[in-house]
C-alpha cells in the first residue's frame, strides 16, 4: 500500500472547513488526517471501479413520495437555535 507521510496542506483543509486550527492542534490533527487518508488508500486497493452497484447496500430503488405539502412545527426547530435575530438564524459572516 502506498502510504502518504508527507506534510498535507492542513491550512487549505481548514480554510475549506471554515475552521481555525491552533499551532498546538496542528500536529495532532495532521497525524489523524494522515491516518484517515491512508485508511482510504487501503480501501482504494479494492478494484471495484465506480459502478453504482457499490453505492447502495440495499436493492431498493424508486423510493419516492407524492407532492403533498405538510408543514412541520418550525418554531420547535427555531427554539433550538442559539443565535437568532428575529426569525432569522444568525451566523458569523463568511466571505
Amino acid at each position: 500500500m502506498k502510504r502518504i507521510d508527507k506534510e498535507i496542506d492542513l491550512e487549505k483543509l481548514a480554510r475549506l472547513a471554515r475552521i481555525q486550527i491552533s499551532k498546538k492542534d496542528k500536529k495532532r490533527i495532521t497525524k489523524d488526517i494522515l491516518e484517515i487518508i491512508n485508511y482510504f488508500n487501503k480501501i482504494n486497493e479494492l478494484k471495484i471501479g465506480l459502478s453504482y452497484k457499490f453505492f447502495h447496500q440495499s436493492a431498493l430503488e424508486n423510493v419516492w413520495r407524492e407532492d403533498i405539502p405538510k408543514n412541520f412545527e418550525a418554531n420547535a426547530i427555531l427554539d433550538q437555535v442559539p443565535n437568532k435575530k428575529g426569525r432569522y438564524l444568525r451566523s458569523p459572516k463568511i466571505g
Binding site: 475549506l16 453504482y52 430503488e61 424508486n62 413520495r65 408543514n71 426569525r87 438564524l89 444568525r90 459572516k93
Partner: protein, 486 residues
Amino acid sequence: MRELEVKTLSDMSIKIGLEVHCQLTKLKSKLFCPCSSDYRDKEPNTNICPICMGLPGTLPTLNKEALFYALKVCLALNSEPNKRILFFRKNYYYPDLPKNFQITQYDRGGGVPFSSGGVLKLSSGKEIRIRRMNLEEDPAKIFYEGSITSSRYSLIDYNRAGIALLEIVTEPDMSNPKEAREFLERLKGLLEHLEVSEPDLEGAMRCDANISLMDGTRVEIKNISSFKEVEKALNFEIARQKALISKGIKVKRETRHWDEARRITVSLREKEEEEDYRYFPEPDLVPIAINEEMVKQIILTLPELPEKREKRYVKELGLSETLAKVIAYDRDLMKLFEDSLKYCNLPKKIGSWIVNDILAYLNRKNLTLKDLNLDANKLAKLAEYSEEYKVSDKKLKELLNELISGKKNFLEVLKTLKKEELVQKDEVLRIVDSVIKSNSKALEDYRKNKKVLDYFMGKVMEISKGKIDAKEVRNLLKEKIEEIIK
C-alpha cells in the same frame, strides 16, 4: 501595428455558455421533504423541517412529481434522460447549506447527470446544444445586517433551502450576448408552456455564464439575476477581456461576480476547485430507474410545444412567420391569441393586433400582459364588429389603443364604433351626391358607357382621401346614378 490588433479584436470569436438554475415552482412541496414550496412572502424560517434543516437521523425522500417535471423538460428539449438517476453530495461549508452539503447530481466519479444532450433553437434557426441537466436542491437565502461589506453577521432564511432546482447547462454555442438573452427567453417560454415553472417569480430563474474570447481563457460570471442583466454582464465582460487582450495582458481563468449596482464584474477572491467539493454518492437516496413506461406516460402529458405551434399558426391559420414566431413563444400572448379564437375566427386580425398593437404598447410602457385589463372575449368581439362596421383602419387602431391603454372601456369603444359608422355613412352619402351633381356631363356619358362609373369612383375616392370603403362607394354610386337616369 496597433490598428491591426484592434481590427482583429473586433472580429474575434466569442463563445458563451450558460448554466441556468430554474426552480420548479409549480411543485407544492420541496424536493426531498414535504415542506411547502410556497416560500415567497413568508416569514423567515417557517417552511422548515428536520429534513431540510439537516438534523441528525432524518432521511430525504424524492418528490416524485419533481422527477416527472424534470423528465418533461428533458423530453421537450430532446435531452436523453439517463436510465438510472443517482444523487450525489456536493460538500462545501457555507451557511446557506444546513447540512454542509447540497444534494445534487454529478457526471463523474461513477455518477451520471439527469439527462444528456438536447437542443433549443433560436429564432434565427441556430441550435444551442444542451450539455446536461441535473435535479438538485436550492440553498437558503442569506441577508446581511447593514451592508454586505460592513456586516459581521449573516442572517439566514432556510425557507428556500431544499426547493427543487433544475440545472440546465449549455454548450458554449452562443456567439454574442443577444443570443444568450434569446436563449434564456426561449427557455423561459418553454418552462412556462410545460407548466413546471413560473420563471418570472423573483429568483425563480437564475443564471451563470461563462465566456471566452478567441478560444482563450474561460471566465465564469456568477450572480446574474435577470435576462437583461445577462446581456449587460456579458457585454461588460467582453469589453473587459478585449481591453486586456489589446494591452497584451493574459485573461485570467477565474470566477467573477456581477455587481448589479456598479454594473461591473468583480473577481471572487476564493472559490473551491472541483475536487474540493469531495463529491460522493448520497447514501440516503436510492437510485431511481427511469423506464419506458414512465417516459411514455410523460409524453402524453406534453402540451403542444412552441416550435410546432409556430408552424401550425403559419400553415393552418395563415399568420405571417413573424407574427407566428412572436405569439408561439410567449405563453401569455399565445393564451390571449388562442382564447380569442374561441370566440371569433379572425386569426390574422387578432394576431396582428396582439403583436403590432398590444405587444408594442406593453414594450413601450414596460408592462406585462397581466397588467392590462384585456380579455379574449372582448378582443374577439371587437374584431368581429370591426369587420361588420365600416370604420377606417386608422380609426380602428385608435380605438384599439384606447381599449388597450384603458382610456376607454369596451362599451365606450363599441359606442364610438357605431357612431363612427353613422358619421362615415353620412359622409359617404354627402360626397357621392356632390360628385354626381357636379359631373352632369359624365352622367350623360354613363347612359352610353357603364364604365364611366369608374370615373365617379375616382372622384369620390379622391375627395374622401381613400378613407372609405371602395366596395360600398361603388354600390352606392351605382344605385344613385341608376335612380337619376331612370
